[in-house]
Subunit: 280 residues, 4 copies
Amino acid sequence: MKTRRVVVPELEKVLHKDYKVLDHGFVRVIDYMGDDSSVVQAARVSYGKGTKHVNQDAGLINYLMRHFHTTPFEMCEIKFHVKLPIFVARQWIRHRTASINEYSARYSILDKEFYIPDDSQISEQSCDNAQGRGKVLSKEFSQEVIDLLKHDATLTYNSYSRFLEKGLAREISRINLTLNYYTQWYWKVNLHNLLRFVRLRADEHAQYEIRVYAETILNIVKFWVPLTYNAFVEYCLEAKTLSKSALNVIRQLVNGQEVSRESSGMSKREWNDVMMILGK
Amino acid sequence: MKTRRVVVPELEKVLHKDYKVLDHGFVRVIDYMGDDSSVVQAARVSYGKGTKHVNQDAGLINYLMRHFHTTPFEMCEIKFHVKLPIFVARQWIRHRTASINEYSARYSILDKEFYIPDDSQISEQSCDNAQGRGKVLSKEFSQEVIDLLKHDATLTYNSYSRFLEKGLAREISRINLTLNYYTQWYWKVNLHNLLRFVRLRADEHAQYEIRVYAETILNIVKFWVPLTYNAFVEYCLEAKTLSKSALNVIRQLVNGQEVSRESSGMSKREWNDVMMILGK
Amino acid sequence: MKTRRVVVPELEKVLHKDYKVLDHGFVRVIDYMGDDSSVVQAARVSYGKGTKHVNQDAGLINYLMRHFHTTPFEMCEIKFHVKLPIFVARQWIRHRTASINEYSARYSILDKEFYIPDDSQISEQSCDNAQGRGKVLSKEFSQEVIDLLKHDATLTYNSYSRFLEKGLAREISRINLTLNYYTQWYWKVNLHNLLRFVRLRADEHAQYEIRVYAETILNIVKFWVPLTYNAFVEYCLEAKTLSKSALNVIRQLVNGQEVSRESSGMSKREWNDVMMILGK
Amino acid sequence: MKTRRVVVPELEKVLHKDYKVLDHGFVRVIDYMGDDSSVVQAARVSYGKGTKHVNQDAGLINYLMRHFHTTPFEMCEIKFHVKLPIFVARQWIRHRTASINEYSARYSILDKEFYIPDDSQISEQSCDNAQGRGKVLSKEFSQEVIDLLKHDATLTYNSYSRFLEKGLAREISRINLTLNYYTQWYWKVNLHNLLRFVRLRADEHAQYEIRVYAETILNIVKFWVPLTYNAFVEYCLEAKTLSKSALNVIRQLVNGQEVSRESSGMSKREWNDVMMILGK
């Protein structure tokens, strides 16, 4: 149909398309509002007139991103249909500034679909990262994990089915399902809050299973608002925040002075992080 | 341009159109996302499958509105360009769940445009409503008010202009302007929060100068999402919340019993409000 | 210790006390800020001076509640420590305007504690309420449900334990647990948003397992802010919102006129709801 | 009075004390909840057990601040009474995640108190900063500015007084006042959002008149939560975020390589900012 609103042809092409994520999940764009020009338009009402050429729009968007002028990015909105395991949904929903309508297992029956990690994700507890994964475990143990996950999810679903068959209320039946069962929801969010979600969840410290969703969404952002995407990568995703002490160390290094962790006031961990950033 | 998104032809017709409000203000729709069907679609993912006929959509939307199932209404979004006096902007911004980019007088120069109420709005302080207006004042005094408002606004603008001419920083120059000067902003909000704004600001207790904006917006809602509009009027705008005690009184009246304020436990004010609702 | 802040002796008595909920859950008050007088103080800065006697504070609080002047209730804050099943946590977290820190199973190991409903809660699917429970099921089937829930939760925990023992990352091990496992969190919220939570979750349409938490919290509100509690019960919890059409019907009934559903414009369901409210 | 809640003796001493700001403004702490230990407690429920010594609490708080783990900082809350010019209030209120009750000029009469900058703040428009101030203007012109500001504020107040005397509604009378008149409000906010406010408004790009409020509040934060204060200064207030390109430049400099703006891909402005950070 025809519209007089801003249209993004690249995004139109993929509307309603399934981006597959994990073994049964997906991300679909259902609707959107605005594009890079909406960010620029809002910035110009706030910050006064400017010129109109593309490279100047890019410059303005870079400026906004670099200086944390976040409100113009709130002028764009997007709505996704997402299918995801419940344990991922539990992390995702911590981002409060979005609108959500989730499939309700009080009203409807959940399908027999659960997430099983593939071999490459069956990893040991990380030693230096209390929340993460370390190296991949043995083939043998991996297979045992996969078999047990499948067995337990199937078994709990069988009980769930039996409960429903015998007339038990849905809202109580579903409590027997495991956290790797899939749910789905509409998720609507503005561009600013979307980028915050991506920054936290596409990070290497995020759990793999939510990271793949965040990466899929980042890809869609690239189609939708390419100038904002570039600014985001440059000034946010691949930028680093350096502490007062770290900046002192860097100033000394740049001036050819010697530095040591002891004199820097930094913890071992922070020192190592900074040295890694500097490629030392 | 062509889009595969939901399109609302009635709203497309008035995109970018000025709805005049007060003496120099306006409301313009700049962009939107979704329509009644988006509300229905979100409700159905939450509450399970349903049928598709129009009257059933209306029934579902009525049900959602009546039972405070508010999240499906968050699935629609709209963006306005609004020009409004600063004192109105100060009330408007108390609605926190919206995105705003306001014209900044730190960056740009404000036009010489200020609000002057017309005769019909030059009213005395209300006696029974601590915040409102009572009856219209004399023609003579009205004229004096109008003259003084014009005089003072003009004079403060002259100083403002002089400050700017002589190079004083804009951010300090503007503090000399009166609260009836016009500002403008982009205001983007979801349908649920828009309706909350309208309910509070189209109310008879709201100040006239914001009420006319709320009424203009309510009119636009009617084009945009007619089923939601009807449900909103029926279950919200023209509905009344009756207290536990008021319900007791009504039950007695309906059963033909006598009631008195003294036995009802209600304050005089509340009693009068209830009697007015009952047309007594 | 001594403080110059507002203190609520009745609430101090129960600080850190466990209020037991369900089979292993609890609610504990950890901290609070403000009381009824804070609501009054905020209202008076907004609405001007008033008198100080207790019954006038009550009158002012009633007025605020009755007229949806909600911001003064935001001036009080409370923090709870709550232990609750994961499926309850999933409903609870939909209330976005609160601060939460949840026990993380990425960092720590979950205890072997899961929720098993007692007989009285093993009910069939409701016929007239798509999301609720109907009458209690047979003793025999109840026992089967309880046995299966225990069996499945135990079995999935055994796999979880085996995973951890063999070194599998905690963040992946936990996905095998069922939704009735207990989690815990700190939940901090202002009084206005707390009352919204209670209104929705202490409602008869809320799932039993969250309702008992909401009722426990409502009890605590009674100690904390007794005037606000009374106003909340009178003007919110036991009040009803009547639609435009329902008000028309009531006006006719009060005037001794005949009414029928057909002429009222109401749906069967709404008509029945209104008749129930009127005790007809 | 006695309380079993967390108490901060340093903050108790200054409860209700006026911190003077600008010519007639103030900041007063009215109430608070929690301290550094509340942040630590929340982090430990999320991230597992840890030790209890003071320097370890500091380490944990530093870790949280450095890694943007913001939710534990939401566990502390503070309430201020603030008196401030209306044009400052207009900037302040853009921080949406706080609770506010403002003195209402619809209900009450505003005092004849307006802000007049002192000489040192009568500056010219900045050349390189579109929103800021440059060098101080001549004594002579300064005096003219001050005289005009006083004259116009007095004159508009005279009209305001006349309007009220003759019975014009307060809500319309007040629109004649200038933006430098003082208003007041209660402002209640959690520690996380308070620090965001301080970071943006204590910044050198913020307008002087809001910066002095932010600095006053930062001082109070130092009494209240000293460990959080230190972490905030180190990892936020005096930290810098360096873009992907800036990090490349720094890596080259640290390794003793030559760099040029042309090869860096940075704009002139960004290049200059980076060189200033490096003390070059």
